[in-house]
Symmetry: C2
Subunit: 426 residues, 2 copies
């Protein structure tokens, strides 16, 4: 970076040559390192750190082997920030505190006031356990107590360590208090928190979005960009340094100009929430008719709190007899065109509207596999239809081979997006 | 461990003082370390290693910062086995091979035959990329190619490294070939593969299962046991050394005796598959009626391939008008007892049977929250009912506060288990 670059970095609030603080996350739990249960804390902490302008550099998951945990903590202490979760219980195989102190070269000290507080909260009076949990590395600042386990922050040479309990609910509850401690505030003060802009696209591939982003200026000038395909959408995240808002706005404008029709949201709200919001704003009641997705579209819609004021219900019409009896799809149509056909999808959507007395009906029928495919109608073939008031109709189809789970998830996303398109244009 | 212990360990096929091979897993991907996307490879590899008798000792996720990746690889090489995923692409920021070679002190060599093979498979003729992907550490054994990325195995001092591509489908496809390479076979030969027994319980808590396991002999004698609460069930895994089958069988017998009614499965098949199988065996057609779960029960049932020969369909009756019109729940009943009541659940189950012409109907109605709760009917209150032929009826209720997602997931699991109980007793 030359003098111009330095000047620009300074103007943008960044300091040339100074990298943003980097963090290591260490998660302990034998069920996690063995893959018995997914680690929910690591990804959550990574996103929470990013939001504060700290770069998550590594995430290590270890079991309860002491040497492995100590090594992971030692490696973590080589970063600006170390966040640990788990291993704070009262028994001998909860070793995070003891091993962190050893790795950091800090003495352990019993905090008598903390012991009294833990005893007050404890349902048992098992003194060795209470004394163990009240023994912290020298200089530790207690950020709060979950159950009987104290969360704390301690400085060790150039690193600040945040130690949190393993249960995700407890970890998330104590996180804000840990951020408010003096040592952590000092680290965060070196991290220019970036603002974030999100653009979400549907109906366009990741490479096309990446190319449009590159043409729009790509990364740099205080804007960091990631393109990520998720849930059959493509998400662009712009992380914007203080002062770089104009550059970010210009990229956003260029992306919208290049990919206009595919850009459907600038928020994190899931598409089912956008569908419900669009219906609510227009006073429309919504119903579903599902075959291959088997209730997943209704399941996503009803995952949103308050969905009951828009969504009235749905029919899962797996058997053809149910399509006919409950949705009024003519048996002759099913015989002539098949249950997986644009005509069946349209009749199902109409049936959902009339039978469930809704304003908008959305229908899905397709072949999820692994069996049931033919050369004419292969696994992955899905027909979708949305039907609204005043003769509004929208149809779509998918032809993507895949496993059963993927075909169903893709069809569910497609149904929600088709419904969004229909309703937002009403 | 004294002389007796040594003798027993030898008799069980274990070698006293010799620990089973330990593995490190290193996953690279900036979207993974930032928590943008969950890591699917680490847990999958951990379980695959465990099944082969190798202990997963640590899982490290790093981004594309070279120093961080190199450090993680170096730490991983301190284990008997190192499994890496990701960073094998053709561009400069795919650095796994180069950094592994550096960490292991191995030279990089261009494999001309491999380059020709990659060029044949490649849709482009970008020679620098092809040459990069065909350049491997000295002594590497190619296990297969995914796209244009070779998976390989290489020995470095006391460690054997397995290098696999990042996309989960490609990684899983190449894994068996990597296990068949000579260096990996040598490591696996030191790992007495353990057999696995699984016992799954529903309707009993993790502490009670842990206590019963301890009373049944707990761990030791060549049997390693884990107790894990998952999806509102409690799973006990017994990992059994060669020769320790009698001890494992005795623990299994004692657990079954202690917790009999709660033990519902000795396989990994999900409960929805057990429900479908039980219906199929009895020639029964199945239908659902859902309020608060909004289609999730039907969604789980239809996730199983071949479900269409048992499951005919379902009604998602979110609005009361739909409960009345589509399921025949009397409006007077809804007025008198409320939609969240045992009576409404029973009427919904009966309605699912009759309206959808099924033999078995299962119904769920409850308060998922966060709004809608009252002191008498709080968030988390759920009524379930299953109805079968010949007057078979089963009812259940839940009263667990929780967030919307948890209440719905718990109710879905409860509906499936209620249905399983009803049908298996027919």
């Amino acid at each position: 970076m030359g003098a111009d670059g330095d000047a620009r970095a300074a103007a943008l609030g960044g300091t040339p040559g100074l990298t943003r603080p980097r963090a290591a996350i260490v998660v302990t739990g034998s069920e996690l390192v063995r893959g018995d249960r997914p680690d929910r804390n690591g990804p959550w902490l990574a996103q929470a750190l990013l939001a504060r302008g700290v770069e998550p550099a590594r995430l290590t998951v270890v079991g309860d082997a002491p040497a492995e945990l100590e090594a992971a903590l030692r490696e973590g202490l080589a970063h600006d920030l170390l966040v640990c979760s788990g291993g704070l219980g009262p028994t001998h195989d909860d070793r995070t505190v003891e091993l962190l102190a050893r790795a950091a070269g800090l003495e352990l000290r019993l905090d008598e006031a903390l012991a009294a507080e833990i005893e007050r909260r404890s349902r048992t009076a098992w003194r060795p356990g209470i004394r163990k949990q009240a023994t912290l590395p020298a200089g530790a600042v207690v950020a709060g107590i979950a159950g009987t386990a104290p969360a704390f922050v301690v400085s060790a040479a150039a690193c600040v360590a945040i130690v949190l309990p393993g249960p995700p609910g407890e970890l998330r509850a104590l996180w804000p208090a840990a951020l408010e401690t003096e040592p952590v505030r000092a680290v965060l003060g070196r991290a220019a928190p970036r603002s974030r802009r999100v653009l979400r696209f549907y109906g366009v591939g990741e490479p096309a979005v990446a190319a449009a982003l590159a043409a729009a200026g790509g990364e740099g000038d205080g804007v960091e960009a990631t393109v990520c395909a998720r849930d059959f959408e493509v998400h662009v995240d712009l992380l914007v340094e203080p002062g770089a808002e104009p550059q970010a706005a210009e990229r956003e404008r260029a992306l919208a100009a290049a990919l206009g029709p595919a850009l459907f949201s600038r928020s994190d709200a899931p598409v089912e929430a956008l569908v419900l919001e669009a219906c609510r704003a227009r006073g429309l009641a919504l119903a579903t008719a599902e075959s291959c997705t088997g209730g997943l579209v209704a399941g996503r819609l009803t995952s949103v709190p308050g969905s009951s004021d828009v969504f009235v219900g749905g029919i899962v019409a797996y058997a053809d007899a149910v399509k006919t009896a409950e949705l009024g799809v003519p048996a002759a149509l099913l015989r002539a065109r098949g249950a997986v056909s644009p005509e069946a999808a349209a009749a199902m959507a109409a049936g959902a509207r009339t039978r469930l007395r809704a304003d908008v009906g959305v229908a899905v029928t397709g072949i999820a596999g692994p069996g049931g495919g033919t050369p004419e109608k292969p696994v992955g073939l899905v027909y979708l239809h949305a039907s609204g008031p005043g003769g509004a109709e929208r149809a779509a189809s998918l032809r993507h081979p895949g496993d059963r789970e993927t075909v169903r998830a893709r069809a569910t996303a497609a149904a929600l997006h088709l419904c969004r398109t229909l309703v937002t244009e009403l």
